[in-house]
Symmetry: C2
Subunit: 197 residues, 2 copies
Amino acid sequence: MIGTPMRFARNTEIYGEEEAAEHLYQVTSGAVRTYKILEDGRRQIGAFYLPGDIFGFEAGDTHISSAEAICESQVLMVRRSALMIRAIHEKDLARQLWDATALELRRFQNHVMLLISSAEQRVIGFLRDMARRATKNAAIELPMSRQDIADYLGLTIETISRTFTQLEQKGVISLLTSRRVELRDHVLFHGFVRNLD
Amino acid sequence: MIGTPMRFARNTEIYGEEEAAEHLYQVTSGAVRTYKILEDGRRQIGAFYLPGDIFGFEAGDTHISSAEAICESQVLMVRRSALMIRAIHEKDLARQLWDATALELRRFQNHVMLLISSAEQRVIGFLRDMARRATKNAAIELPMSRQDIADYLGLTIETISRTFTQLEQKGVISLLTSRRVELRDHVLFHGFVRNLD
DNA sequence: CGTCGGATTGAACACTGTCAAGTGAGGTGG
DNA sequence: CCACCTCACTTGACAGTGTTCAATCCGACG
């Protein structure tokens, strides 16, 4: 995927909800969040995108979320229309576009699964997802704040903080710093952590 | 959309999770639910499909959910591969496929939004969605059980039942029977029901 | 009329939210 | 180099909401 490289400072908007979706984006460095503001003022984060991830891809002509850089980030920008035209002839490209859509659907479904479980399971699920996607190092680097995680998991910042502490006390994770987390292996490999008590 | 008509009895499987997604389906009568069984045994319903709705459409080669008929239902079945080949030449069809995908993404996003609010807001959101999609009559006919609603909204059957009762006491809905609900107009039109107390 | 499955109701309990206070690391200026 | 500030994060006490477990109700159907 080629495109125009662009830089975004921390907390700056990449696109807004309801804007025409003229571009696709790929993160090359940094991290991005998509979100919606609800009528009652709360913010729901739809997804986090890390280097390599494609976003802005909503299969319609308007964005259904806003997107912001979480930290200083670089993204590649490609015109959607150009891609779609090329995709008519290049089967590989068409395939990649469908795959990206399928991935997006899976992400949403996974998100729904997270939201119906307990606070502890939500946090573990979030960390497992981050661990799987991040560099395969022992420690995960979290680019997002506790508030971002809270708005992603539908919890409060206090509950996130408490849950991190409890998971550390149970020996499930190590908090090297507040933004660097180490997961115990069994948490990575088990499909589901049934009982941590 | 043409295809092979098929009938399914109440609670019978239409397709299973992880099966090859060889077909697309359109409901002609009855109602369908898609769901996943979680590792701890709970069931998460991903969506309900009513007459006219297209399902089995996950943009990948395998189904990410199972699908079942909620009640005696008829669906049209079309081979995906045939559709995809036709879509290469028929721009309208290709467009329809993208639109269906976009709709599915919006459904998931809407679902996520529901899951982060209170029990009362979840139920109201669910009913508004059903009202919008069902026949525009005053009363909504709910084909699904309380347990289905509970598994869709991430709540227990008891909470669903209690919330229905409370909404009726507040004058937001009328329960003609347990499966026939009438919504007050203001609930339909407001983007969000801010305060019902 | 009796039975069965789905739905409702009640009481006790667990979990998460709320509000408020406290802690800690990084950055700035004297 | 240290004092101070700021912002993010953590912790505590308590209230509110949803779950759990159990009993009961209701309607369709034999």
